[in-house]
């Protein structure tokens, strides 16, 4: 299925086309592909190479880039804020993504049981994931988890008074942003729902005849057959989560505070590159991000051999 499936099957050499295919359409292809090729070169590849070069320089936009070798990378290891931002981002990814996917899976399974009003529930659950990336929702979050915000008002009605502001307390601020991520479980849920549709009904019927209960059917049929889709969601959500920016930026007012507790990696990168205009350092940070994301993706693919079940 989908992008990741295509890549894996290509890597396995199962891509379509023979060894020596003829290329009768080279000329029209050049015209059709021209925008993409230009974009690949001008918007992606050349900037990538340029940013790799800049990561070895000291560059502030004002003077020409000065080659400083590995200095940026050495500095990064001694940069306490960078380490904090890595920690914050890792916690966000490692806690937020599994929580979001677990909720998405649970509700998809619940919705898939031929329930009435499926499309209504599906819309309700999906809506937050369309709005979740907006500044408007981040503003709402800031009020909700503020000192006198909605959450504390409701808590007060239940008898918990004098609670601190969740976003102004360094120990809970990140939690509120993780919660916002979990709130947007709708899009992976939709993908799970589509996957659940592909599981042949007869498997369940056979299992039922054999006396398998609801839980057994879930663990023995649904879960194994859904592992490719869980994997697909996992890879994508991990990549996305590493790049989260808007919510932490708006909720913390651009600072990553309180006490750097919501200093996401991308937020720190933005501060370095676009408020301090330390472009060399920001480029080095961008490449570290790419390497980290790539490592996580490779680990995901590697570990997938042990738990993803392909029914082909």
């Amino acid at each position: 299925m989908s992008a990741i499936g295509e890549l894996t099957s290509m890597a396995k050499g199962r891509g379509r086309g023979g060894v020596r295919e003829k290329h009768p359409d080279n000329k029209p292809a050049l015209v059709f592909m021209a925008p993409w090729l230009l974009g690949l070169l001008g918007i992606t590849l050349i900037p990538m190479i340029a940013s790799l070069y800049l990561s070895f320089t000291d560059y502030s936009l004002l003077a020409a880039p000065k080659w400083i070798g590995l200095q940026n990378f050495v500095d990064m290891f001694h940069d306490a804020r960078l380490m904090t931002s890595l920690k914050v981002t890792l916690i966000y990814v490692i806690v937020g993504v599994p929580l979001q996917l677990a909720l998405a899976l649970a509700l998809a399974v619940l919705l898939n049981e031929g329930i009435k009003g499926l499309s209504f529930y599906r819309s309700i659950f999906y809506l937050p994931s369309l709005l979740g990336g907006s500044v408007a929702i981040a503003i709402l979050w800031r009020q909700m988890f503020g000192t006198g915000g909605l959450v504390n008002q409701i808590a007060g009605m239940l008898g918990f008074t004098n609670l601190p502001g969740w976003i102004s307390d360094p120990s809970t601020a990140l939690g509120t942003i993780i919660l916002l991520h979990v709130w947007t479980f709708g899009s992976p849920m939709i993908i799970f729902l589509a996957g659940l549709r592909q599981i042949p009904q007869m498997y369940y019927e056979a299992a039922e005849v054999d006396g398998a209960g609801r839980w057994r059917r879930f663990t023995a049929i649904t879960l194994p057959l859904l592992t490719p889709i869980i994997f697909f969601n996992l890879v994508l959500q991990v990549i996305n989560a590493f790049q989260s920016f808007t919510q932490a930026f708006v909720v913390s007012g651009g600072t990553g505070g309180p006490s750097d507790s919501t200093l996401f990696y991308t937020l720190y990168l933005y501060q370095k590159g676009f408020t301090q205009f330390d472009m060399g350092y920001a480029s080095a940070m961008a490449w570290l991000l790419l390497v980290i994301v790539a490592i996580f993706t490779v680990i995901n693919f590697f570990v997938s051999k042990f738990w993803v079940f392909y029914d082909d």
């Binding site: 290329h23 059709f32 800049l54 939709i190 708006v250 007012g253 651009g254």
Partner: protein, 318 residues
């Protein structure tokens, strides 16, 4: 590039089918009628649906409550927002909307127009560039196609941050910083690989016989594309339009970097400027403008849901 990965990650349907389809699941999984031979009657059979509905209703309420509360609060006087966590009574105090509309250096309509222009440019760019590219990947046989396709898929996963610094330098040299060009131009160069992939999948599903028939009638690739493929791929185009709209309407990271003066602000930047200038003093007005900024998304979501589902049902999952 892959703004969709950064700006609004969560909204990504991610190539896999939001195949969700209509409620036409294999009829009644879980709603077994109970009269099948050999099916043991179990208590869950009657209680199950009620429990499930109860869980789903509570979950829906929790999910949607913050949104409802924000809408209701945007119509309340400021003092009430911090006093009433409930939805009732519903008041119709439009003062917040008036205050919010005029809170920044320009009336809010200015930012709405800016956002509309940005979205419009990006939608046009994505539809044209991605469909051309997708046709080549799906239908043409050319040198290096498989490699190009793999590269395209990999750019899906490339963090925008890796290229943003040199891009910024490049666009500052062309004098385009503080215009919308750095945000719109990449769309005309098919850098949103997600949509290219979506359209490739869709075109692969269109019977090749149609192309062949057109070719026998003497059509070249351009006429096949415009006369045969393009009209047939409206669901995929609708999906592209809707998602481009949603992502660019919400776009923050790129806009924050490239749009520097308040006159060029889009809605998300205006909201953020509002938040910075007001601190925590005028939540009512801020809620009012936030709600206003979400209205177009709601409308597109309601109108477009059908297209989204149709667009994805035919792509994504094999």
């Amino acid at each position: 590039m892959t703004d969709q990965l950064t700006s609004s990650g969560p909204s990504r349907p991610a190539g896999a089918g939001a195949g969700a389809g209509t409620a036409a699941a294999p009829a009644g999984r879980g709603h077994r009628t109970g009269d099948q031979p050999g099916a043991r009657p179990r208590r869950t059979r009657r209680v199950g649906p009620i429990v499930r509905h109860a869980i789903l209703i509570i979950a829906s309420l929790v999910m949607i409550y913050p949104l409802l509360w924000m809408i209701v609060s945007s119509l309340r006087p400021n003092t009430e927002i911090f006093r009433n966590p409930g939805l009732l009574p519903i008041s119709f105090n439009t003062e917040n909307y008036v205050n919010g509309w005029n809170a920044l250096s320009q009336p809010f309509s200015h930012y709405l127009i800016n956002s509309t222009l940005l979205v419009l440019g990006c939608v046009i760019g994505n539809v044209i560039a991605c469909s051309l590219t997708a046709y080549a990947f799906a239908r043409l046989k050319f040198w290096g196609r498989n490699i190009a396709f793999a590269v395209m898929l990999m750019t899906l996963m490339l963090p925008i941050h890796v290229v943003i610094v040199p891009q910024y330098i490049m666009f500052s040299q062309t004098g385009w910083v503080n215009t919308m060009l750095p945000l719109i131009l990449p769309k005309f160069l098919a850098t949103d690989a997600f949509f290219v992939f979506l359209m490739v999948q869709f075109i692969r599903g269109i019977p090749r016989e149609l192309d062949e028939a057109a070719r026998i009638d003497g059509c070249g690739h351009f006429r096949i594309f415009f006369r045969v493929i393009l009209p047939l791929m409206t669901p995929a185009i609708a999906t592209t339009v809707i998602f481009t709209f949603m992502w660019m309407w919400n776009d923050f990271f790129g806009s924050l970097i490239y749009l520097t003066t308040p006159d060029n602000f889009t809605v998300p930047l205006a909201l953020r400027a509002f938040l910075d200038s007001q601190g925590t003093s005028d939540w009512g007005a801020m809620f009012a403008m936030s709600v206003l900024s979400l209205v177009p998304l709601f409308i597109v979501f309601l109108l477009g849901q059908r297209f989204l589902i149709r667009g994805f049902a035919t792509t994504g999952i094999k």
